[in-house]
């Protein structure tokens, strides 16, 4: 059982042992559609052969001196064969297409669910562009894999084989050319696939690169323009686009060299010669020659199909592999739904906590041997230089990340023993690097609430965060859509929305990571007052550079290079920590730093 941060109760379970089995289990989820498809394909191939036979019979009838009545019957056979074919065809095509849509829907669902269930460590490592490519292109590719590719391939194989059986009933000798041809096609197809595979990979890789590069240029457009680096970006893009173009042309070349079609051209001539030869020897009739040629004629379409489906199937297998790879990536956190779920009091203990983002050696860890104890209702201020590990420390609390060693306890219970649901619901965070959704302001604020909230509640939260006035200043008020990541707001406006969002989530423990850095002092004062009221009795972790807030904290953690240098109250630190004094008292800064 893989670990997950999030799961739903009734999710269907698929086979994850290999990408082939995984696809298979997705398809086999709908046995009825699958059987219908297979049976009708068989029906199609058979009625197609029957129609060729019926055509040949018609010729034999006429050449054998048959009359109009006999001809009518022969023609009616043709009608019947084609009607039968049409009927099978329509059922067949519905079955496979519906199956394709379901598999597409289900794989997307499965992948999405698994992405939600992955830890932040995982997401921090992934490029959003890459995840997107998997969740969109690759999933769509699986739909294409089933219909048309898989459908066509099965159909093609049957329509390559059943005519042969029919030919055998005409005269076994006639099989010589088709069998040789089939052998040739098999070998040529294998060769073709081998040639195509690396190019298909290249095609995808270069397209992905072009896409991701462009997406990044556009996200950083302000910087691009600010430094007038458009020409450099243009070169970069051209380079990527050209790489894709080269792969595209190479694919065209390989496809153009598709040998089975050449074999087919040759086979038709040879088969014709062979049939004529047998006719000359009196072994077959004209009608049989015609049936034979008509049957050979039906071989052309499957060959064209196989040309198109080969590359689709290859790309799809690669896509399936990539999706499954995502799904199977181990995540270190588990939602632990059986875990402790109880109202939080807010007692926080860090016990010899170490944490590293990567596989660094101990001395390069982001956090080293951190221990402290915050009592319920206390305000803990974390101070330290840029990059000291302040934000990182707070991220261990709600298990955004898990410690590498040591423990984090809330109310005496290891956070890993808490139900993730209960844990995160009761810890509110205002991140330093705010993310807002390109939805309306109201939706962004409401995002913090666990249950449906009324407009009045949203407005109340906005009031507390000093956001209501500027929101009402917009022509559309709370319905204003704020652009990607909130680009249409000023820095301070974004922060206030994030504050309102956190207020509405009504947490037991609140983490404020430099959450007023873009807000002027007067406004901040007002927000502070609201916070004080709202957070009465709740434990607060506070990262800030404002001395007044730090000084009034019950506990101050002083960090440097991932270590907890010292902790205590303001007065204690003022008396015994030089580093602490240096941060706040400019006059002390000239002294050598050391503690």
């Amino acid at each position: 059982m893989t670990r997950r941060e999030f799961s739903v109760a009734d999710a269907y379970v698929y086979d994850h042992r290999s990408s082939l089995r995984w696809l298979q289990s997705h398809i086999q989820r709908y046995p009825l559609l699958l059987t219908t498809f297979l049976l009708t394909t068989l029906g199609m191939a058979s009625s197609q052969s029957l129609s060729a036979v019926a055509v040949g019979n018609a010729f034999d009838t006429v050449l054998g001196g048959g009359d109009a009545a006999a001809l009518t019957i022969a023609a009616l056979y043709v009608v019947a064969a084609y009607l039968g074919y049409g009927l099978f065809d329509i059922v067949n095509s519905f079955a496979i297409r519906v199956l394709a849509q379901r598999v597409e829907r289900n794989t997307r669902d499965e992948l999405y669910l698994s992405l939600l269930s992955k830890s932040q460590t995982f997401h921090g490592r992934q490029r959003v562009g890459d995840l997107m490519a998997r969740a969109t292109n690759d999933v769509q590719q699986l739909g294409l894999f089933i219909s048309p590719a898989l459908g066509m391939t099965i159909e093609s194989i049957l329509t390559l084989i059943i005519p042969l059986v029919t030919i055998a009933t005409l005269d076994v000798k006639l099989l010589v050319v088709p069998l040789l041809f089939l052998l040739g096609v098999t070998l040529a197809l294998r060769q073709f696939n081998n040639n195509l595979r690396p190019i298909a990979d290249q095609l995808r890789a270069t397209f992905g690169q072009m896409n991701a590069g462009l997406a990044e240029t556009i996200s950083g457009i302000e910087v691009v323009k600010g430094f007038a680096q458009e020409p450099a970006e243009e070169d970069q893009f051209s380079h990527n686009a050209r790489a894709y173009r080269n792969a595209f042309v190479r694919e065209g070349e390989v496809t153009a060299k598709y040998l089975p079609l050449l074999l087919y051209g040759l086979a038709i001539g040879l088969a014709f010669g062979h049939a004529l030869f047998l006719f000359q020897r009196g072994e077959i009739s004209v009608g049989q020659v015609i049936t034979y040629m008509a049957l050979l004629g039906t071989l052309r379409t499957p060959l064209r199909f196989l040309l198109r489906t080969s590359s689709v199937i290859q790309q799809s297998m690669a896509s399936a592999h990539r999706i499954l790879e995502m799904i199977l990536t181990e995540t270190e956190l588990d939602e632990n739904s059986e875990g402790v779920a109880q109202p939080m009091v807010g007692d926080i203990v860090f016990e010899r906590v170490h944490f590293g983002y990567g596989e660094e050696k101990d001395d390069a860890m982001a956090l080293n041997n951190i221990s402290f104890h915050a009592r319920p209702g206390q305000t803990v201020a974390i101070v330290g230089q840029t990059g000291a590990g302040k934000s990182t420390l707070t991220k261990l609390l709600n298990r955004t990340f898990d410690t590498s060693s040591g423990r984090v306890l809330i109310d005496g219970v290891d956070v890993r023993d808490w139900s993730l649901d209960s844990l995160r619901a009761q810890i509110g965070t205002i991140e330093q690097d705010i993310f807002l959704f390109s939805r309306s302001i109201a939706e962004n604020i409401a995002f913090g609430a666990r249950t449906a909230v009324s407009q009045a509640q949203i407005e109340a939260a906005a009031q507390e965060a000093q956001a209501h006035d500027f929101i009402m200043g917009f022509p559309n008020g709370y319905e204003t859509v704020i652009g990607e990541r909130g680009v249409m707001l000023s820095g301070g406006q974004r922060q206030r929305l994030a504050i309102a969002r956190a207020f509405l989530s009504d947490p037991r423990i609140l983490v404020l990571d430099d959450s007023t850095s873009a807000i002027d002092s007067n406004t901040e004062d007002q927000i502070q007052r609201a916070m004080r009221r709202i957070l009465q009795g709740r434990t607060t972790l506070l990262i800030t550079h404002r001395l007044s807030q730090i000084r009034s904290a019950d506990l101050i953690l002083l960090m440097k290079n991932g270590r907890l240098l010292t902790h205590g109250t303001h007065d204690e630190l003022m008396t015994h920590s030089l580093v602490y004094r240096q941060i706040f008292i400019p006059e002390e800064r000239r002294l050598e730093i050391g503690d």
């Binding site: 043709v78 329509i90 921090g124 969109t136 600010g226 430094f227 173009r245 065209g252 014709f272 301070g492």
Partner: protein, 600 residues
């Protein structure tokens, strides 16, 4: 390959007449005319071989009624074989050269689209989702390629139809006419289908785009969802859109799933009709068995192109619509337009806002109204004020990211509208409020404004900030990978990188928008020392909420709702006892040791 296929029309979309569209597409092919001509020639040859083969076979079958010589029969078979090989060869040349031409054309189109995007000002990027812009440049151009390939295919099919029809008519007029009656039936079916298909296709693509957009946004904001433990809610949202997309797709299944079986059945009926009619004629000796055979075979050759034209029509139209979208992107004019391209040397740095009025979009309140401000060369100007007052906007205007509606902005006595934009911007060094880093190393990012800079220069710029000790916190120093958007650095580190980037650029005018807001006071103090040297002799605009940052400025202005409500130097403003003084006292109460805001 739609990432977030933007199908709902954007504001800048327009429709082109068919002639215009064809003209535009043709223009892209002009440089490759020889290849196009070759491809067309091959297409004709392919059609010819495809027609001749059944004719020869039918002649062979005719011979069978007499008592033919084996040599003759074998010779016929040999001709068929050679034709088969030739057909393949022609097809090879066709596909290969077509791929080259299409590859080059799409490349050219992509480059044009990219250049067009780069020409746009920031209002464009505010307004249109980045995913949609990306998909125009990469996916829509791809669909354009499909159009081209399909056109070539359709043309070759048409040639084939004409050739076959000709051959049929020369062989037997009556049977030919029977065959041709199928044409109108197919055309009617195709026309009905075309409308259904287009609707179903469009709906399906829109649904798809919505699903993709939902995924895109929730994945980008996954950290927020996790913090608030909202996975359940966004999963429910997702499921609803996913299910809706599935239902819409089912509609497409019904349309596309029935069209081919229908057309096949029609063609089957036609075969039966030809067999019957041809058989009757053959009985009456009105037609040879070979001809009869030819028509039965010819029918499917005749049919194939018609059905494929019918079935690919919607894809064709979709491709046309895609090229329309790409051309709309290319043709749309940026709002920021330079009236001249005057060269810009090293600027002295005198800046003048003259009665400037600016809003981000019509209908929104003006951010700046009749705003005037003079900044003499070499001055360090600080801007403080309430959030949302328009401080960042002011700087963005000066960067010429947005167009202003009235008044003028001048630098060294010249309107910034008349300057060469690239040269002008290189003279300005901006540290934006939200630092953006590109994925790559710290060094790559510092070097961004001066790609040629060597490692020593990069290190010097980085060490200028503080004592450079911030580099020691990074696992691999300046070679640390910063991750997407710089996410692997702390926010303060990102700001330091953004500052170092500007220092290396060595601009004439510095614009620091809350450049040290996320940096701790100690490091900031060190950074200030470095900045003091850099700012000396250059014009600079410094925006900060931390008033300690702005005290040393030559002049301070207080902005409120886009108006300057106070200005002067620190001492002067304090004595004046106005807004600045109030801000300042609040700020320093915050920094003082015994202040508790909730107790007043």
């Amino acid at each position: 390959m739609h990432l977030t296929g933007g199908l709902n029309p954007e504001e800048y979309d327009r429709s082109y007449s068919d002639r215009e569209l064809v003209r535009r597409i043709a223009a892209y092919f002009r440089p490759h005319w020889s290849k196009v001509l070759l491809v067309a020639f091959m297409v004709t040859l392919i059609s010819l071989t495809a027609t001749i083969t059944p004719v020869i076979i039918s002649r062979g079958i005719d011979l069978l009624s007499g008592n033919p010589q084996l040599q003759l029969l074998l010779a016929l078979a040999a001709v068929v074989t050679v034709l088969g090989a030739l057909g393949w060869l022609f097809n090879f040349v066709h596909l290969w050269f077509a791929a080259q031409a299409v590859g080059d054309v799409v490349l050219a189109l992509r480059e044009d689209a990219f250049r067009a995007v780069m020409r746009r000002d920031l209002s464009f990027f505010d307004q249109f989702a980045s995913g949609r812009i990306v998909s125009r440049v990469t996916s829509d151009t791809q669909d354009f390629a499909t159009v081209v390939t399909l056109t070539v295919d359709l043309l070759s099919q048409l040639v084939l139809v004409v050739v076959i029809a000709g051959v049929m008519l020369t062989q037997n007029v009556r049977l030919a006419l029977i065959t041709f009656t199928v044409g109108p039936i197919v055309v009617v079916i195709a026309l009905v289908f075309r409308r259904l298909a287009r609707d179903a296709m469009q709906q399906a693509q829109r649904a798809q785009a919505t699903v993709n957009a939902t995924i895109q946004e929730t994945i980008s904001g996954i950290a927020v969802a996790k913090n608030f433990r909202q996975e359940g809610a966004i999963y429910t949202d997702f499921q609803a859109t996913n299910e809706l997309a599935y239902r819409v797709q089912l509609r497409r299944v019904v349309v596309f799933g029935s069209i081919f079986p229908l057309l096949n059945t029609v063609s089957g009926m036609a075969v039966a009709a030809i067999i019957y009619a041809g058989g009757l004629m053959a009985i009456n000796q009105a037609v040879s068995v070979g001809d009869w055979y030819l028509f039965v075979q010819g029918l499917s050759i005749f049919f194939y192109p018609i059905t494929s034209i019918a079935s690919f029509w919607s894809q064709f139209q979709q491709g046309l619509a895609a090229s329309e979208r790409v051309f709309a992107l290319i043709d749309d004019e940026p709002v920021v337009v330079q009236t001249a391209q005057e060269p810009v040397g090293r600027l002295r740095g005198e800046i003048a806002f003259e009665r400037v009025t600016f809003n981000y979009s019509t209908g929104r309140n003006a951010v700046l109204q009749d705003f005037s401000l003079m900044i003499p060369a070499g001055e360090t100007l600080a801007i403080v004020g309430h959030t949302g007052a328009g401080k960042s906007s002011l700087v963005k205007l000066l960067m010429r990211f947005y167009e202003f509606q009235a008044g003028d902005v001048g630098v060294d006595g010249r309107s910034i509208r008349t300057l060469d934009l690239s040269q002008y911007r290189r003279q300005l060094g901006l540290v934006p409020q939200v630092p953006f880093l590109f994925s790559g190393t710290v060094a790559d990012n510092i070097r961004y404004g001066r790609p040629g800079a060597d490692e020593t220069a990069v290190l010097t710029a980085a060490r200028q900030l503080g004592d450079g000790s911030w580099l020691d916190d990074l696992p691999e120093g300046i070679h640390t990978d910063v991750g997407e958007r710089g996410a692997r650095l702390s926010l303060g580190q990102r700001q330091l990188v953004a500052l170092a980037r500007v220092l290396l650029q060595d601009p004439a005018i510095l614009l620091l928008d809350e450049a040290t807001a996320s940096i701790d006071p100690l490091t900031e103090a060190q950074v200030q020392i470095a900045l003091a040297t850099v700012l000396r002799g250059r014009t600079s605009i410094v925006i900060a909420h931390r008033l300690s940052t702005v005290q040393a400025a030559d002049r301070i202005i207080v902005l409120r709702d886009g108006q300057i409500i106070e200005e002067g130097d620190h001492e002067g403003l304090l004595t004046a006892g106005g807004h600045y003084a109030e801000l300042y006292t609040t700020y320093f109460r915050h920094q003082s040791l015994d202040y508790r805001p909730w107790e007043n």
